[in-house]
């Protein structure tokens, strides 16, 4: 059971908390919007990914099971 991160671009406001909490999979572009690693997430990172999802101020970060 693996999962990957998705960004709901309609909701994302570029607060940038996700990149602070999960730099292993998320970087910020020059405008402060997330650039997400498209590969499936390493299972060791999942707890941190869930925290990043819960921290998103606009609930724009989604952890999708694949």
């Amino acid at each position: 059971m693996t999962s990957r991160l998705l960004v709901d671009w309609v909701s994302c406001d570029g607060h940038g908390l996700c990149a602070e909490l999960l730099p292993e999979a998320i970087a910020l572009d020059e405008w402060g919007f997330p650039v997400v690693d498209p590969r499936p997430l390493a299972s060791a990172l999942e707890p941190m990914a869930r925290r990043a999802v819960a921290a998103c101020p606009t609930l724009a970060l989604v952890l999708e099971r694949i």
Binding site: D13, G14, G16, L17, E20, L21, G32, A55, P57, L59
Partner: protein, 237 residues
């Protein structure tokens, strides 16, 4: 010492422990929830911050400080109901009218509690609720904070003490400064809304300040606010 003096001795001081805990927990929860409001306001900002203070810190602190503040509110309310120095019934905690002790100002506290309950519970299910609905409800936190300040001034037994007054003034000052920051951060988008907000906040602050000077901070407040006669409280023991 003889047995007679023992039985005739006055009740120990700690008969009023619960009442003191109520007052202390009320003041400390006001301070914590004011801090929570300030942190909540700061976490809405996208203004760049240094590496030493990452953005998730504001939000994480906001959540944790809020929960600690709510926990202290439970202590504040639990001890107020358990204590029989003043008659606060369980219904008075949630129903803002019909209280027995300074009814109007106890009511402000009850109204604040109702809002805090809604704001806390909706925040716990934020992911299910959706961002828009959650955020609309979360605006009510400002009202809860204002009601809590009025409740503290109106019912607070210690509201007139210099240090307590300074604490309350500091809480109000910090929140007002944070609101000022919120209103200017990102200017000039939503210019009209920001100006209306500023006017509303200043009007509310002026009204509460005028009321405080003529009400709780003026002599004779405990009589005017509807404090039951001491004899009645003692007879109820």
């Amino acid at each position: 010492m003889t047995g007679l003096t023992f039985t005739a001795a006055p009740p120990p001081v700690n008969m009023q422990t619960l009442w003191f805990v109520t007052r202390a927990a009320g003041l400390v929860s006001l301070a914590l929830l004011s801090l929570a409001v300030v942190l909540g306001i700061l976490s809405t900002s996208r203004a760049p911050v240094g590496r030493a203070w990452p953005r998730f810190l504001n939000q994480g602190l906001h959540r944790n400080v809020s929960l600690i503040g709510v926990a202290l509110l439970v202590v504040h309310i639990g001890t107020a109901v358990a204590d029989d120095f003043v008659s606060v019934r369980l219904r008075d905690v949630f129903i803002p009218v019909g209280g027995l002790y300074r009814p109007l100002w106890l009511g402000a506290g009850a109204a604040a509690i109702d809002v805090v309950l809604v704001v806390t519970l909706t925040s716990l299910i934020r992911v299910r609720l959706g961002h828009r609905t959650w955020r609309t409800i979360h605006w009510a936190a400002y009202a809860a904070w204002g009601l809590a300040v009025v409740h503290g001034l109106g019912t607070g037994s210690d509201a007139k003490l210099h240090w307590a007054l300074s604490l309350q003034a500091a809480c109000v000052g910090c929140v007002l400064v944070a609101i000022g920051f919120r209103l200017t951060d990102g200017w000039p988008s939503h210019r009209l809304r920001r100006m209306l907000g500023a006017a509303g906040i200043l009007a509310c602050a002026a009204l509460v300040a005028m009321w405080a000077l003529q009400g709780p901070l003026a002599p004779g407040w405990s009589h005017r606010s509807g404090t039951p006669k001491p004899s009645a409280a003692v007879a109820g023991r």
